[in-house]
């Protein structure tokens, strides 16, 4: 709130105290943008777990009937075993990347389609805009999980991991379309777009060269958001029993936990691992989103 229009960062910035190359600038920024740092840290932790896990643990043990059932954690089975005879460490190591894969594929697809639609709708306006916006608005009123349930139930023989990704992606574009379109609408009115138009730049050129670069941080935040939502949707489907039944994905593990009343029966090791991992996934993605939001929306930087 500087009502005087006090000039801020319009001139050349004073030279950086020590030019050590881009690396240190990155670290310095991370110290300021703590959410981003925490998000990256959590997700890196997860990545390490997956990579090291897959290199050291025998993922065949994630199949049912591989080991003795219902063993509490021990040296042989650090995370214990479940009722179907799976080694839980192997299940986590094998299943987490599957869950993440569904999330990433669906998220990327969703934001990809959403971006294209949003730019077409927001830039060209007209009938296309009304149609796209109408579909997105109506689609968003409907609870996504339920539509996914209907789709999943209709597919014969249950879903595979890849099919789940496609199914989740089919709804994942709705929200990104709407939010990116709103941004495009705002950008469209900016002076430099008008100038580009007058200069004779074609629509696609303007979109790609003038608008996209300015929206990249926002797109990144939307992407992370979409991935998080997709993972949530896939876990939701799996908990309801609509996922790939033999797969050790995080959601399926939760399904079996529920099915076997693991909490009531006191088999605590069964549910601790997946819950902790899911917590890390969601918290990591959340902090990442907040951190990216801060880059995308500098006004938030000044607030406490």
């Amino acid at each position: 709130m500087s009502p005087d229009g006090v000039q801020r960062v319009t001139g050349p910035l004073p030279p950086a105290p020590s030019r050590k190359g881009r690396g240190s600038a990155g670290w310095r920024y991370l110290r300021r943008n703590r959410s981003l740092a925490v998000g990256i840290a959590l997700l890196s932790l997860l990545a390490l777990f997956i990579i090291i896990g897959n290199l050291t643990v025998d993922t065949e043990l994630a199949r049912p009937l591989s080991v003795r059932a219902l063993q509490p954690p021990s040296w042989e089975h650090p995370f214990g075993t479940d009722r179907q005879g799976r080694d839980l460490l192997a299940a986590m190591v094998a299943g987490t990347p599957l869950t993440l894969k569904i999330g990433f594929v669906a998220g990327f697809l969703g934001v990809g389609i959403g971006t294209v639609l949003a730019f077409i709708a927001g830039y060209y306006r007209g009938v296309t805009d009304t149609v796209i916006r109408g579909i997105a608005d109506i689609g968003l009123t409907v609870p996504g999980l339920l539509v996914l349930i209907i789709i999943a139930v209709s597919v014969r023989g249950g879903l595979t991991v890849n099919q789940m990704a496609i199914v989740v992606a089919s709804l994942a574009w709705l929200y990104p379309t709407r939010t990116i379109r709103a941004q495009v609408l705002t950008l469209r009115e900016r002076g430099y777009i008008e100038v580009a138009r007058l200069n004779g730049m074609s629509g696609p050129e303007i979109i790609l060269r003038e608008m996209m670069p300015n929206l990249l941080p926002y797109l990144a935040a939307t992407l992370v958001n979409a991935v998080s939502a997709a993972i949530l949707a896939s876990i939701g489907l799996e908990v309801l029993g609509l996922g790939p039944l033999e797969s050790p994905t995080l959601g399926m593990t939760l399904y079996w936990i529920n099915f076997n009343a693991a909490i009531l029966n006191g088999w605590w090791w069964w549910w601790v691992a997946p819950i902790v991992i899911i917590l890390i996934v969601f918290l990591g993605l959340f902090f990442l989103t907040v951190g990216l939001d801060e880059i995308a929306n500098p006004r938030l930087r000044q607030q406490a």
Binding site: P3, D4, G5
Partner: protein, 317 residues
């Protein structure tokens, strides 16, 4: 005789910025006589709006008042408690903001925006009296009574501005600070608004500080003018003197740049750009753009000196 109603003494306001504090108002002093119309002119970024807020003690972080005093009659504003200062606002010193922008609460009717001011100053009125009072105020500013029921978005720019004036006068303040009340309005409406302002000021017997950058407007409205540059007051003089015989080089170039109906010729601007407040040159802030700049100007900052009723901050005036 010269008892001033408002006195500003060596006011300093700065804003904190990651790259260093920015001094928006730098050691500014002036006084306002009762019933006087005082203009505060300067380009964007010169510190004039900050000054208006500072007088009302409305500077919020990252801004802060670094020093100086403001006196309303005999009351030193910095010594007042928060609540006492709050009561003084509107009742003692009233602000007329740029109403055509966003100064009115968009979801509340005009009547209520006057009523809540009255209520919070212990002047709440029962409904029928409130209605009469609101109609009177609207009448004073030339607005029809129907406006009381309307929402801000239903009013034109000029009407919104006049509604703001109505709010500003509802407690009969001694000083009215009008902060760029006519920017974003077209000339015809500008004239209406300024006429309204002038009229209510006279009826109230209040003093007015008109903050703005439109020299033409200043010439028609104010008695005395203060010119600000880079957060500093560089000249204060009666308006006629400033227009006909400006003493500070900046003021001179300002006046010279005004288009005239009589003269024809090339428009004269002021070369260079207004300085970044956080990057001010040493000495006189204007010296990089001043045609008369000498070595002394680059080192020593000129202070306001009295020259028969005019005050100038220049080594060569």
């Amino acid at each position: 005789m010269n008892a001033s109603v408002l006195r500003v003494e060596r006011l300093r306001v700065s804003y904190d910025h990651p790259q260093g504090a920015v001094r928006a108002v730098d050691d500014v002093s002036f006084s306002l006589r009762p019933h006087e119309r005082f203009g505060l002119a300067g380009e964007s970024g010169s510190g004039k709006s900050t000054m208006a807020l500072a007088i009302l003690r409305l500077i919020r972080p990252p801004g802060r008042i670094d020093g100086g005093e403001v006196w309303l009659d005999e009351t030193r504003l910095s010594s007042l408690s928060d609540d006492a200062m709050r009561k003084l606002r509107l009742a003692g010193i009233a602000l007329v903001p740029q109403g055509s922008m966003n100064a009115l609460n968009p979801v509340v009717r005009i009547r209520s925006q006057i009523a809540d001011a009255l209520a919070d100053h212990d002047s709440a009125l029962p409904p029928r009296q409130l209605e009469a009072r609101v109609h009177d105020l609207l009448d004073d500013v030339g607005l029809p009574p129907a406006v009381a029921d309307m929402y801000p978005h239903e009013l034109s720019g000029g009407m919104k501005q006049r509604a703001c004036i109505a709010i500003a006068i509802c407690l009969r303040p001694k000083v009215i600070i009008a902060d760029e009340p006519t920017s974003a309005l077209d000339v015809v409406v500008q004239r209406q608004v300024m006429a309204t302002l002038g009229r209510v000021q006279q009826e109230l017997g209040a003093a007015v500080i008109l903050v703005g950058h439109d020299m033409g407007l200043m010439a028609q409205f104010v008695d005395r003018l203060g010119v600000m540059y880079a957060g500093r007051l560089v000249e204060i003089a009666p308006i006629a003197d400033i227009i006909t015989a400006p003493k500070h080089p900046y003021t001179r170039m300002l006046i010279a740049s005004l288009p005239s109906l009589e003269r024809k010729g090339l428009m004269q601007g002021i070369p260079g750009l207004a300085p970044l407040l956080r990057d001010l040159p040493p000495g006189c802030a204007f010296h990089p753009r001043c045609p008369m700049a000498a070595d002394r100007c680059r080192v020593e900052r000129p202070l306001l000196r009295d020259l028969d009723g005019c005050h100038v901050a220049c080594h060569f005036a």
